[in-house]
Symmetry: C2
Subunit: 151 residues, 2 copies
DNA sequence: ATAGGATTTCAAGTGCACTTGAAGTCAAGC
DNA sequence: GCTTGACTTCAAGTGCACTTGAAATCCTAT
């Protein structure tokens, strides 16, 4: 059988720090089995899972969202190529949304800021179609900013 | 003369919370003068500045980077349309970089994850051209992940 | 047998971009 | 005069995605 990986090996193969891998496991994004001594052993398909996490983060997704997405993979067997391809397809759509948003922002840079008639209040570019996002504290990157100005 | 704005008015006109506006001022991103009573009064061009901050954040820039960018505006006079248009041009270029990166990620989703031959170690998509970014703790969104795996 | 590296857990710290709360001052309407 | 709301400062808290450090254990090589 294929040898499972130690956390150090997984770190080297994915470029993700061991501390991050432990964190991902704690958050339920990846799994491991333990040796009698309590050391983690990661099955080789975990590499791909971690790779996906890295990709998705760079697209701008939170670990929360990524967990939800990974949950769509089969649990009772090793995900095959088609499973990953299916996930990838929905993510491509998400990336396209991001790209579309960036295009809008680019236009808005001319329409709202570059020009003289700035009216950010009703600017369709700055707040494209009110994505429902987490409001509240913390970075709000990519989050639609709704009417939360105050009162 | 044009009436300056109270912090509440600026908040309403930009959709940014007063607490955030105070934070931006503290961080040197915007400025105000004070009334005899110590209340802030914002000149009207500040609206545009705040709008730019909101845009730039949605593109994925940190306040640090935005401050640097805003520093390119003239300090001794109210920025005119050409000043803003100049800033906007460089930002359009940045947005295009982001879009290009997203396109690469989209390809990588097929090349690295969707297909069967995953080799994240030397994946050109996951780590396109090693942007020098802050490494270390904190979210690393959009940051090039360099060889920081561990020894 | 022992040194050195890899691993474990757990608690606490970090950076960013804010928000929240307390305690007080100021301004406008009744 | 009094309430109401907007404003002030300052300290502390929040959410995310981790990292760092301490103290202990495990594995490997000499």
């Amino acid at each position: 059988m294929f040898e499972p990986l130690t956390i150090g090996e997984l770190a080297r193969r994915t470029g993700v720090a061991t501390s991050a891998l432990r964190f991902y496991e704690e958050q339920g994004l990846i799994q491991s089995v333990r040796t009698p001594a309590g050391h983690r052993r990661f099955a080789r398909p975990v590499i791909r899972r971690v790779a996906f996490i890295v990709f998705a983060q760079r697209v701008g997704m939170s670990l929360q969202e990524i967990r939800t997405e990974l949950a769509r993979l089969p649990e009772n067997r090793v995900p095959n190529q088609e499973d990953w391809a299916r996930l990838s397809r929905t993510w491509k759509a998400r990336i396209d949304e991001r790209i579309a948003e960036l295009e809008r922002l680019k236009d808005g840079l001319t329409g709202c800021i570059g020009c003289g008639c700035l009216s950010i209040e009703r600017c369709r570019f700055a707040n494209p179609h009110d994505r429902a996002g987490k409001l509240g504290p913390g970075p709000r990157f990519w989050m639609g900013r709704t009417q939360e100005s105050e009162s």
